[in-house]
Subunit: 239 residues, 6 copies
């Protein structure tokens, strides 16, 4: 099967990292196609950029010329998953929701460790909408900006581990979710340092997407995610 994994920012090196993690989680027969959005911000760290990314991801997926079996939106706490579900019949998996869903099988409560403080409310809101907030102990910011994950990985790791440890001891989390697509690949090291299971959203999403495809399940089209009604658009898509 072929799974599209779509980054939400336009930094190609981050797409590459995401692709690598996705491939390492994928089963033998799965082809991972990693896409960088056609337009948007070099990193997504707030609502303006996230709404733009939502549209960019949709247009990017619509423009992909080959058939595919599932789509993963590889941004943590971002807008847009519902739009993709309308446009497509194949399953759409958001990494925020995939990580939390997997985490809930591993412990009584989970926490998310993300990048900047301003990202926390976005993640909280997405978990609330997804019906996955009841067992969320906390969403904590490491203070590391998205692009600094690549710029200084060692410092990023220290900051992430520090917050993960607080989540476990102070917030009573038993599982940690890495709250940024750009943290893909850090899970094993954080787990070794904290002693609790650590879920990477991209890896989790790949196995969920494979599961849905294997089970023959597709997005329900009876109401919320019915295809868009045919209608006229003005100045869209951009030339």
């Amino acid at each position: 099967m072929r799974i599209l994994v779509v980054n939400v920012n336009t930094t190609q090196s981050m797409t590459d990292t995401i692709a690598e993690t996705a491939r390492s989680a994928a089963g033998p027969g799965t082809e991972i196609v990693a896409l960088t959005p056609l337009f948007g911000a070099e990193s997504v760290e707030g609502n303006y950029e996230s709404y733009l990314a939502a549209v960019a991801v949709m247009e990017t997926v619509r423009g992909y010329p080959e058939p595919f079996d599932a789509v993963i939106q590889a941004g943590y706490g971002e807008h847009g998953r519902e739009g993709l579900q309308e446009l497509l019949e194949v399953p759409v998996v958001d990494i925020t929701e995939a990580a939390a869903s997997i985490a809930q099988f591993l412990g009584h409560r989970y926490s998310v460790v993300t990048t900047l403080d301003r990202a926390v409310p976005l993640i909280e809101d997405r978990l609330l909408l997804a019906g996955l907030s009841q067992r969320c102990a906390s969403v904590r910011a490491s203070g590391v900006a998205v692009l600094d994950l690549e710029a200084d990985p060692a410092a990023a790791m220290e900051a992430i581990v520090l917050e993960a440890e607080k989540a476990v001891t102070q917030d009573r989390a038993e599982v940690i979710c890495l709250g940024c697509g750009g943290m893909a690949g850090l899970d094993e090291q954080v787990a070794a340092r904290t002693g609790v299971p650590v879920v990477d959203g991209v890896a989790a999403a790949v196995t969920i997407a494979e599961s849905l495809v294997r089970l023959g399940l597709r997005t329900s089209k009876v109401r919320t995610y019915a295809p868009p009604r045919p209608k006229a658009f003005r100045n869209w898509p951009p030339d």
Copy 2:
């Protein structure tokens, strides 16, 4: 003061209706500037169109050349308000939230009567995020598409009144919110037919926006709605 009222679809006649309602609700010193988005769908009836509208509204407001004191996003149950709040210092008022906030002063529980069945989950989700769902008795669909509100107003009125009455008697609502920007101006007639207060979101939002301006209150910038961080964009905005 000057308030921008931004339609979410690209149908100019609907912008005109919204503008008229906004002006009738505005105080003497208030100038209403009604804007139609630079791009997008002729009506917004689902997530794909709504995410596109979110971006279009942001770009349209950013392109407005004159100073202004507040912005109203005149789409019911739509995405995007959080992005505007990041971009602007002046208050941003969403008509979904304005209507519900006002309705809560008038009765124990309120219901929303909207257009199509598929719009219901979007409105429910926006009310949930806004912390305004506890006293929401129901969100009901009239089955009237957005553009049919203009095409056959009499039939639309009957369908809306029918659902409003069910909301009052079956769902125990005591107040009705008209759940579509395109329903602006229908409130008095629905109130006369049902015997309960009926809140028009556009009108409610105008008075809320005026209140915020008069009280000297602006969007908090300490965390969620801090200005976007400076960063590079690719292929955006479109030429």
Copy 3:
């Protein structure tokens, strides 16, 4: 229009402060009539006094001889708003609910800073009933008794600012509501000190009341706030 603003305690100087704040928030055509209850405690700082104030406010409003367009109950976290809504057709606005409703337009979460520790549960309960607690980050006590707000304003300001800052940094509030009618007028100073928007309940309630009147909206009479059924009373009202 004429708006009655009713203090909940019998301290005239506090009524005067409330009146002043109300007038500074009111629009040009609005007459503010500030009333002191006919009976009750010099300050309301608990349930016994608050229930007594609920009845005193109702009797005071019933005894007001002139027509009026709206009523504001100017006590924070107090009982009684529902009774006024039964007795009157014009809108009734409680300052606890007005402040929270306005605050929700300005940030992701808000906190309330009130007087004594014992007032906290009353405010929490009123917000819970009003359906406005989901986005409330915390209700914090400054330790300043109601009458000490007037007796030592400088010390009161310090105590309020201290708790407001904790609300922003520890509880992740982005907006502060001043949780006592007697704090009317302190909002600008607290905002300047904390860097977040600060909502005064009395001022907020005035603009909400004006909005409701301008929109032609009145309390729903279909169920909860239908007029009291005619019946015999014993020993009431007191001679």
Copy 4:
């Protein structure tokens, strides 16, 4: 031990019915003293009357000259219990809360069958505040006014049984609470007709009060229910 059972309306025959039920539930060493409020409405069927009753019950209990061990507020869904808890050290039991607490030991979910439609929101609000609403399947109105419970008991019984049956079959309740102090004594007949346990609030409250007294437990005075602070009152109590 001596337990004060305080009616919330001023109809003596209803006080007598309540007293009879209380005595039949009381243990051998318990003296039931039934009190009618010094002032107030002949029946309490809304917020205005309920707030007045809250104050009347408090003044009536304060005026009772003998020592006592517990107080029961015998109005369903009424305001005021928190005020009594401030004034007294002995336990205070509200029949709404007593009935729901007892019902929760008997089945997965319970419903309340009350008098008029307008009483439903009051009861819902009290259960919400009491933290007892999660397992409440519904609050249903029989349409029988309080005083009609005495005027036409047979018709009242039919109406109550009808709603209780709907609660069991449609709302999936497994236990019924009789939602009016004036329904005291009807429990056995409703149970026989519906086949589910039926809880009378007055009887339940008596056994809860006895339990609290026997266990040596009193109202916590550390915060919410600390005694009122000493302060000046104006025109109160009435002469």
Copy 5:
């Protein structure tokens, strides 16, 4: 009346302590029969042991040869109460739920102080299922293992008081529940040390059970707790 009080662990001295507390709370006509399970662990401190205890308690009660009027399951936060309710017509009272129900009559919020950290989630889950978590301020672990309550009572008392005080000052609890059947009898001392009411679950359950019996109330049999359907069992009960 005869009440069976069933310990969940197989330590006879703990059954004796529970029996003593139950007897001191019981009314004059009540016979307390304390039972130790036929099989199971010497202390129950986790899910494995708790599920085993659930079955052991059921089999032990089924094997009791004499008639009885109510059953108390004397384990805090343990599984199994629902099974007993199916098997029996007489009331079943769980001490976790009894303590919380009683605590809610005494203050605005309550906390539970239990044994080990690992018991906290079990208690939280039981309170959630019971609909009694809204007013629970916290569940705190003293770090004292169940059997150490008997081994070193003085140290246990210090640890319990320490957490109880934190619950009152930091978590804003106003009442404390002792969260272990083995803490029976410690309530007075903890209350004296902390200044708030302290509820012992066994004592509370005895008075609740007596109340239910006196009121003639039995477990509802219409749905959830209908008797088990007749069916074949394999290898059960064990010889």
Copy 6:
């Protein structure tokens, strides 16, 4: 990898059906070992049988002599998953939770269609504990007993489809979960009849378990699911 799939009842033909479904969902390298509990009821349709099954499943898994990589508890709405998580390091997946987690990726809300009315509260309770109830539209009973699923499959299918259709049209579900381990294999037919995605819990659990194993994730051992503390057992396990 080897996955143990444990039936909760002792009917071997039902174990066989479950095994068949599990194998059809499993990936190429996965060995499914289906186990029938060593003791217990021929069908599990209530709390007594479910608690017994919880213990039987634990003992059966403990007695399995070979290594394995994950365990699936194949009973819908049953007790016990937490105990297995304590006993094992490998992942444990409950089919109730697996089905709901998968369903949430496919539509806005899901419903469960189960066997008997009495099973509904058990499933509701498990979803509540699992933090998966927010998006559950309803749990509906088909009225088909567990063993009748095999005895009259055609009638069972009709009853299940009827309730599934009501869930979609009346409760606004967009996805259906088949709420009984014994319904394994019916998903495609129900989906074809109703037009919405249908999730089989056993199949969903197999792919979730495979995902967890492939991702190298194991149950967190820091608190809730730490291994049982060493202690003495009386009369257990049975000889």
